[in-house]
Symmetry: C2
Subunit: 362 residues, 2 copies
């Protein structure tokens, strides 16, 4: 063992071999296996000694005396931080991302969901997409669409292009199209460009006065609008590929499987998981096993990427997998997705400002 407990070259090699073998096989790795498979010119006895050292140092564990070694969280940590092999670009992923981004980016919610789907499909782990709730935002547009004699549709578009609509049924009075158009105009003038929190049921008198439409009709419509606005504020949570994990031998034990099923349905727990990368401006956050406290995640690792567009975090995509997940693959997939989406968003941002200028000066 090196004097100061630092890992020398050889120990790193052996640690890496153990981890990669374990990631592949999910079986405790013995010294003989390492000596044979990862030909490093050492006998199993030597490797055995080194492995004993690695265990003493906390990088490996032993399920029981006569078993091979298994990486500890600390072991995975140095593996992730120092030993990750760069991964060849995955053409399937690249293809999926291209077709994801071939249209325009309009709604972040849908983008995050679709991206999470791709990530889960590519990694075969579970992907959790989360969009950030907006506390303060501007209503960009609002419209009341006449549908029939008893129904109108209230449409609200928020600052980030999140769109919500609600069908409103009006009883008692028949609706006339010109009435709705007038009302729609008034509402649009009153609310568009205004911060969402300024909208309240209190404005009903003003609306009635300005539009000349009866209170009975305006009330349910404003109700619906407020409902839409509230929905715009919500962050969304998307869980993709939850069933993927259950295929892994980790979950041959039905209790573990049921535990996971409970976890995956617990929205609060998922939000906590997805928040792992919060505050982080760029780069991924890797949380291994129970590293971050008693959250019942001892057997899982999470890799989170946050998406920053225009200097603002619009959401995150996290991969949830077993601690022995294929970190290289997960990290490279998430990094690639992040890079491509942020790049595209930047391009579109530029286009927009250019066009807007052109539009303004016309």
């Amino acid at each position: 063992m090196s004097r100061d407990g630092e890992l020398d070259e050889r120990k790193l090699m052996i640690l890496k071999a153990v981890i990669e073998d374990y990631i592949e096989s999910f079986e405790p790795v013995g010294s003989r296996t390492v000596a044979k498979k990862y030909d490093m010119g050492l006998s199993s006895a030597t490797i055995r000694n080194e492995m004993a050292d690695l265990e003493e140092m906390g990088y490996l564990c032993q399920p029981h005396t006569s078993a091979g070694r298994v990486p500890s969280s600390k072991g995975y940590r140095v593996y992730v931080d120092k030993m990750l092999a760069p991964v060849a670009e995955n053409p399937k992923l690249a293809g999926a991302v291209v077709s994801l981004l071939e249209g325009k980016i309009v709604e972040y919610h849908k983008l995050i969901k679709a991206a999470a789907e791709i990530i889960s499909e590519m990694t075969q782990y579970t992907a959790i997409g989360m969009t950030k709730p907006k506390e303060q935002f501007i209503i960009k547009a609002m419209q009341i669409v006449p549908v029939d004699l008893n129904h109108v549709l209230a449409v609200v578009v928020a600052e980030n292009n999140v769109t919500k609509s609600a069908m409103v049924k009006i009883d008692g009075e028949a609706l006339k199209p010109d009435m709705i158009i007038s009302l729609s105009g008034v509402l649009n003038d009153l609310f568009s460009g205004r911060p969402a929190e300024s909208i309240s049921i209190m404005m009903i008198n003003e609306v009635v006065k300005l539009s000349g439409v009866s209170r009975n009709i305006v009330l349910p419509i404003i109700d619906a609008i407020i409902d839409c606005v509230k929905q715009c504020e919500h962050g969304e949570l998307y869980t993709e590929g939850a069933a993927n994990l259950l295929k892994f031998p980790e979950f041959d034990d039905i209790d573990k499987a049921r535990e996971f099923i409970d976890l995956i349905q617990d929205k609060d727990a998922l939000k906590k998981i997805a928040k792992g990368s919060d505050g982080e401006k760029t780069g991924l956050v890797v949380t291994i096993g129970g590293e971050n406290g008693e959250n019942g995640l001892d057997d899982y690792s999470v890799v989170s990427a946050s998406y920053n567009i225009d200097g603002e975090c619009i959401g995150t995509i996290s991969v949830l997998g077993p601690t022995r997940m294929d970190y290289s693959k997960v990290i490279s997939s998430l990094e690639y997705m992040q890079k491509m989406i942020e790049k595209k968003a930047k391009e579109e941002g530029k286009d927009n400002s250019a066009e807007n200028k052109k539009g303004d000066s016309e």
Copy 2:
């Protein structure tokens, strides 16, 4: 045994006891258990003889010689058809349905989904909600909402109040509100009240001519509208409480659990399951075990209710559970939900026609 292979009173009693015990315990039921628990004044030996008869007649099976009896599909069938005890109304369910229906029914999709959620919650089985795809329908309303200099929102409302919207990004030209309003008017005039299939990209020339808006802008908007229309046609499939089933001891075997997970992700299989009640005007359809052919559903039963409003089937809600499900509970829950929703829809229908008349004559 009675002469003609018919089930006499006593056999029915014993069959019922076996089935109900098995539904509760998921353990093969022995003659001693029946004699003791369902005090019917007979010794276990007599019951044993009767059970042997019931097996010979195909109502019961024996996993192996020295085990108790288990109901066969045929056994469940007579149980469901002839022996179901009427169930006391469930106040929890009633409460949930009341709050589900306290608002107006506007969108069937959302209603079916919410109702399926309640059913799955109440029964603790898996509920599958399906709305019927519309092959032919009328566009009730259409509108283009100006959002900002580069975006408009296309909104389409279908006959059944299904609403779809798509954000459209316009490059190259700045949008002016009056342009959009004019375009929206033209589109609304052209498409509203028209059958969906009449809308095609071919109409672009007409739109350009009538609205005076440039082709570059009209094209992506019509594209978006066609997209929305296509989405309106789709039937939706909602799976609620899929994880519920995994709690049952049926799935202690991880292979069975994984099989179920595959099943529940297979949209085509689910559609087939949910179609069980197709064509049926009213009443529920109960499919027990593999009754209906080789669909890999041997261990499951399905109870389906279809929802008919205005003489048209708008969708179905099915409960998927183990063959030994609590049929009484499932059937009564589904019947109650069906009754309440159809009743409410009828009421609203009446209201509407009354109001529409009033509106027309004004």
